[in-house]
Symmetry: C2
Subunit: 151 residues, 2 copies
DNA sequence: TACATTTGTATCGTACACGATATAAACGCC
DNA sequence: GGCGTTTATATCGTGTACGATACAAATGTA
């Protein structure tokens, strides 16, 4: 079989492992997030807001690489759950400011245990700390490249 | 700020980079796949079928870590595009055999150039071949772990 | 051989992603 | 100050993902 076609195997590409690892990671988080009654993308938005409690849709989108067509409905669901508020900015009427409610702020304490629990479940695994660090470094570099390539 | 809460930052976790890298990778493929008139998940299914031209829905699902609730509609779309056929197995009437049509088989030649074109666009980048190989190794290991953890 | 259990697909409902498009506010420039 | 352009969201349509459930065929077992 020619080399050219061999490259079409799943194992020979990076795309599939990334896609699968991402989906599997979400699955790992799901039982913990069910406790908080939020989804994984909603959790990402909450993390961004816990860092800065008031941000525009645009700000959040830049951090998560998402646009309003994804964020607007997601934010409306978070608003329905009373975790955030959405208000038009007075300074710029085009902009929507997203801010944490008291309830949204309080959810942070409940969420704080999640990273540890996830990490703990990887403690006994075959990936050394050094390997993990190197992996994260490359992943970061890769993200930078991908981000440029996709404009 | 307590350590516990610092862990809730995007940068401190693996989950977000994986999620973002996966989505960005899909975006990189999109213009190439538009030429073939298929989506990225459809491309994955086609790759699996190019390797073995006849497989059950279950077989495909095991390779892509997807279940019938995702695959059935996706396969129906590929069938509408006349790239695959779906027939009930005679040996086991529960099973649906997915097979390539002539057109589906021929698409392979057109798709064969994609991996090279993607790779070429990364040629001049800051990730060395060794780093790339190490990354893929860890990603593979990670997938194994995640796969177990998520049952 | 009856019948409970398992297996392989399919269906349904919800929630992302994302390209394309719409719309109103803000900005730039003459 | 009028007006074309840019910017910030929102809406719409399509296509995944995936938990829950349905259902029929196959299997195991008393």
């Amino acid at each position: 079989m020619p080399d050219q076609l061999a490259k079409l195997y799943l194992e020979n590409q990076l795309c599939f492992p990334l896609y699968a690892a991402s989906r599997l990671t979400t699955k790992i988080y799901t039982p913990y997030l069910n406790e908080l009654d939020i989804t994984y993308p909603q959790y990402l938005v909450m993390m961004v807001l816990w860092q800065h409690p008031e941000q525009s849709v645009n700000d959040i989108g830049h951090k998560l690489l998402l646009e309003s067509n994804t964020l607007t409905p997601l934010l409306k669901r978070l608003e329905q759950k009373k975790l955030i508020k959405r208000t038009r900015s007075h300074k710029d009427e085009r902009s929507v400011l997203v801010s944490l409610t008291q309830e949204g702020l309080e959810l942070r304490e409940k969420a704080a245990v999640i990273p540890d629990q996830i990490m703990a479940s990887f403690q006994d695994e075959s990936i050394s700390p050094e390997e993990g660090i190197a992996f994260r470094e490359t992943l970061k570099k890769l993200m930078g490249i991908l981000r440029e390539k996709s404009q």
